[in-house]
């Protein structure tokens, strides 16, 4: 067994040191009734590296790989090109195989990365401070809602219909148990977002308004009026960003008055990975920092006065505050945060802006081309790199038919909102820098065939 260094002679010698006759002596506390004597049925024995590679490889080959076909899926997870150096660096053992930096003197590498990451996220979002990551965008979103409850001491959250349905669904799950009240709505297949509904719903009991930017259908709304109305009523504005690349092109939510900005960081550095692991980004105004969930890295000095970094304000966290902690999160998404940070460093101001411009341009070209397919309508007036088409028939079977033709053509609203008939003809199409002109042409003509 290649991962186990002990030899049988070592084991015997160690048992002698311990004063045990056999390994069974070390398991004496296990009650008789719970001891397994034989093997568990139906489980294979150990296998060579080559054999495991074959088994895993066979499963991998049964999947249609995004990079090998015309690919247009988004809705909370985006395919961007990740520079080769990102994956190289995150595989360095000193990052990959280290733990949470609880001993700062021998974890300055991770800690400085976290400090840089926090600064990058805060600036991208237009906020003062960001934490060292959450699991993903959806859990970060719920954490933001509970944080708003702590800050405002109110329990009613208004969720925009443009918020990712999985994020809504998770909030609904949790709210059932925590007693938070959620005001939710389905999106409508129109160019207008539900900003009017949000404005009309804010009142003196509202803890927060949660708005996705750009939203699930790709639409972009000015958050400023919502922030103003929320603040006038003592409520917070939470902005949710599922596509961080967009912020290379459009105004940061923090600059439009958002109090808390959360989102998914997967687009930058992480890759699709069938939905996880991803990286939740969480930022807010400085005055709320003691209500934040998750780890925070801060600057300090060592005994010789040299600059260094430590995890700080830990009294918010579960390991110290236990049932009074701001969150139960412990393990977060450290390595994905590193990947995000490296990719962001490679991009820099110029790279991120250029990338955003390119994404937007390719999306505009695609939208114009696809809107020319007979029967297809472009729903959006505004969008960044993702927009919604209204097909002349149900989109979900159309997506399957496109897949049969070797094209991953988008996310149907039927998949996202299985019960909403009014949405079933909607197809959300994401177009990033990886999409070529040929891909757009291929989708347009396949769509035409499928709809015929």
């Amino acid at each position: 067994m290649r991962y186990l260094p002990l030899a049988d002679t070592d084991r015997q010698e160690m048992l002698r040191t311990i004063g045990a006759k056999s390994i069974d002596d070390l398991f004496v506390d296990v009650p008789e009734a719970a001891r397994l004597s034989g093997k568990i049925e139906g489980l294979a024995d150990h296998a060579s590296e080559m054999s495991v590679e074959r088994q895993m490889g066979a499963m991998a080959r049964q999947n249609m790989v995004a990079g090998e076909v015309p690919f247009f899926l988004g809705a909370g997870a985006y395919k961007h090109h990740v520079p080769a150096s990102v994956d190289h660096i995150i595989q360095r053992g000193e990052f990959l195989t280290s733990y949470t930096p609880y001993q700062p003197e021998i974890a300055q590498g991770t800690l400085q990365v976290l400090f840089e990451f926090q600064t990058q996220v805060a600036r991208l979002y237009g906020c003062d401070v960001a934490n060292a990551s959450m699991y993903d965008g959806s859990t970060a979103c719920w954490e933001a809602i509970t944080m708003a409850r702590r800050v405002t001491k109110r329990g009613k959250a208004i969720l925009s219909g443009g918020l990712h349905p999985h994020y809504v669904s998770l909030a609904q799950t949790m709210a059932r148990f925590t007693g938070d009240r959620l005001d939710v709505a389905l999106p409508e297949l129109t160019a207008e977002t539900d900003a009017e509904r949000l404005l009309a719903s804010i009142d003196g009991e509202t803890s927060c308004v949660v708005v996705q930017y750009p939203d699930i259908l790709g639409r972009i709304t000015d958050l400023t009026p919502i922030a103003e109305k929320a603040h006038a009523n003592g409520a917070l504005l939470i902005a949710v960003v599922t596509e961080p690349v967009a912020l290379g092109a459009i105004e940061a939510p923090g600059h439009m008055g958002a109090d808390i900005v959360v989102g998914e960081g997967q687009s930058i550095g992480v890759g699709l990975n069938f939905g996880g692991p991803y990286v939740g980004l969480f930022a807010c105004k400085e005055k709320f920092v003691r209500q934040m969930p998750g780890r925070l890295c801060g600057e300090t000095v060592d005994a010789e006065g040299k600059r260094g970094f430590v995890l700080t304000l830990s009294t918010r966290e579960q390991h110290i505050r236990r049932e009074k902690a701001t969150s139960n999160i412990c393990t977060n998404s450290g390595l994905c945060a590193l990947a995000f940070s490296i990719h962001m460093t490679l991009l820099g101001e110029r790279g991120l802006r250029d990338l955003a411009v390119l994404n937007h341009a390719r999306a505009v070209l695609a939208a114009e081309r696809l809107a020319k397919v007979p029967g297809v309508e472009l729903v959006n007036d505004t969008f960044f790199n993702e927009f919604t088409l209204k097909l002349p028939k149900e989109a979900r079977p159309a997506v399957r038919a496109l897949a049969d033709k070797g094209i991953l053509g988008g996310v149907s609203l039927g998949r996202l909102y299985p019960e909403a008939e009014a949405l079933e003809n909607g197809l959300v199409v994401a177009v990033t820098e990886v999409v070529t002109d040929e891909d757009i042409e291929a989708l347009a003509s396949a769509l035409q065939e499928v709809l015929a």
Binding site: E94, E105, A107, A122, F274, E349, T382
Partner: protein, 521 residues
């Protein structure tokens, strides 16, 4: 002969013990590294992005007006920056990492290779089901291993880490109780529990009460029984517990809780001690999370990501979260909201976007297939053997508060009893750093004064253990002798002790441009 004096003569030099203040602040391979914000040469960039075709903007007039303020570096600068930083970290790849409760075992590189196969790494979570059959099979196969290894009835794969798994288990418990019209409010948690246990219980609306430990470091069964009643929804018991001990009364605890109408959550963070030797299902529990990043070797990555699948008893299975994978004939389907009613009407719902930590599933399954059932059992045995070897090799110099009550499981626990000169567990930890080891977990569990929790894992050879034991013995002896030099440790790390008080009093959580000269905007 002709003397050629143009070469150079190696010389040993002199100047023993001299300290030189270098110009750079570097010390040979120990390199100081500025922040990216201090390195930025305006407009730096490490990617080449194709020029964008000209189009009419559809951004709705919300174009970003001001700079983001993030620096960019070329690829060589970037690689060097992070490589230099990486060298300031300790890691399993460098040596023994005895962080108790965290299970720092070797992270096989085959796991990494498999997780990066494009068929796993480059697929979108919302692709049509028929285009991801292999991915669903990975989830189903891993789930089946977990169910069989734990002797439970079903598994929820979507939780993102241990704490998220705890949440999953408690939400199922609450749903099951509510389904029978029983709104109980209290969760009992042992004093020794990990902080996530009480935090999770509170996070989903429960009130938390502590149950005391016995002198032998176990749950006090009598106290537990005395507290059970119609308001108690359940208990959260860690087994093996956070003192590194098996809870011998577990079957009876489960029975008592069930009789009182409650349910049993088991924190399975320490499952690595018993895989293949004990099935938690045989202990009468209702739900347990498994940290794939502990027991099944997925890397900790400096803090995450992890993955925390939860196994359920038959009673809790109907309440498990969405989505989940089901085999229908020879095809795998993903049960999301759409079909939930018919299949799974009592589910408590979704707890994350998409379907869980796929990248961790491929790694964990690779590890499981590599070890197989026989290997996994050997893994637990070696982990327990290594911990007991440490316990018995050091219990003459360090106080082992539960050492007299028999063997430990996968971790050895010591206290700071008899340290002299005002020295503490912290000082011992910092002393170990100078010896080239990552310290053990300190001050956890809370039930032992100055706790030092040492988990060697099966990864360590006897030689590595012996070296560690020698080092800790030496530092412990210094602590008992009141050797004040320990207060200065670490001396040889990239940084001396850091001022955590300053960090907390005046938090600096993001870099700001120095404001010298020009007034800030």
């Amino acid at each position: 002969m002709s003397i050629n004096a143009s070469g150079w003569k190696p010389e040993m030099g002199s100047g023993e013990g001299m300290e030189v203040q270098t110009f750079t602040g570097n010390r040979a391979l120990m390199l100081e590294e500025p922040l990216i914000f201090e390195m930025d040469e305006a407009g730096g960039c490490g990617v080449d992005i194709a020029p964008a075709p000209k189009v009419t903007s559809r951004l709705g007039g919300l174009e970003r007006k001001r700079d983001i303020g993030i620096p960019g570096l070329s690829e060589p600068q970037t690689v060097r920056h992070y490589t230099r930083l990486s060298r300031q970290n300790y890691a399993i790849d460098l040596g023994l990492f005895p962080l108790g409760s965290c299970t720092m075992k070797h992270n096989p590189r085959l796991n990494e290779k498999m997780a990066r196969l494009p068929g796993f790494a480059d697929i979108h979570p919302l692709q049509p089901i028929d285009t991801v059959q292999g991915a669903l099979k990975v989830i189903a196969d891993l789930g089946e291993w977990l169910v069989k290894l734990t002797g439970m009835h079903s598994v929820a794969m979507s939780p993102k880490a241990g704490a998220h798994g705890e949440l999953c288990g408690l939400l199922a418990i609450r749903s099951a109780l509510e389904a029978r019209g029983d709104a109980r409010e209290v969760i009992l948690v042992p004093e020794s529990a990990h902080g996530t246990n009480p935090a999770t219980a509170a996070f989903c609306g429960y009130r938390v009460e502590n149950i005391p430990a016995t002198e032998r470091g176990r749950v006090d069964l009598a106290a537990l029984k005395a507290r059970l009643g119609p308001d108690v929804a359940g208990v959260m018991i860690t087994n093996p517990n956070t003192c590194g001990l098996f809870e011998p009364d577990m079957i009876e605890i489960s029975k008592a809780v069930h009789e009182a109408g409650g349910l049993v959550y088991c924190d399975g963070a320490n499952f690595n001690a018993i895989v293949g030797r004990v099935r938690p299902g045989d202990l009468g529990i209702d739900a347990m999370h498994i940290n794939l990043h502990k027991t099944f070797s997925t890397p900790h990555g400096g803090g995450g990501p992890g993955s925390g699948p939860v196994v359920f008893s038959e009673a809790l299975t109907p309440f498990a979260p969405l989505p989940f994978v089901e085999k229908q004939g020879d095809r795998y389907v993903l049960i999301e909201e759409e079909t939930a009613e018919e299949h799974h009407g009592r589910t408590f719902g979704r707890m994350t976007a998409f379907h869980g930590q796929m990248g961790m599933f491929t790694r964990a399954l690779t590890y499981i297939l590599s070890h197989g059932a026989d290997g996994l059992r050997q893994v637990s045995e070696d982990a327990v053997l290594n911990a007991n070897y440490i316990l018995r090799s050091l219990d003459d110099v360090l106080d082992a508060p539960f050492g007299n009550s028999g063997p430990c499981m996968h971790e050895a626990l010591f206290s700071d009893k008899d340290f002299g000169g005002g020295l503490s567990t912290l000082d011992v930890a910092k002393g170990l750093i100078d010896e080239g080891f990552h310290p053990m977990t300190m001050y956890f569990p809370l039930v032992v004064h100055g706790a030092m929790l040492i988990e060697p894992t099966e990864t360590e050879s006897k030689a590595a253990l012996d070296q560690f034991i020698g080092a800790l013995r030496s530092v412990a002896e210094r602590a008992k002798a009141g050797d004040a030099s320990l207060k200065a440790a670490p001396i040889y790390a990239p940084r001396r002790r850091l001022d955590e008080t300053l960090a907390a009093r005046k938090p600096v959580l993001a870099w700001k441009e120095p404001t010298q000269g020009v007034a800030a905007e």
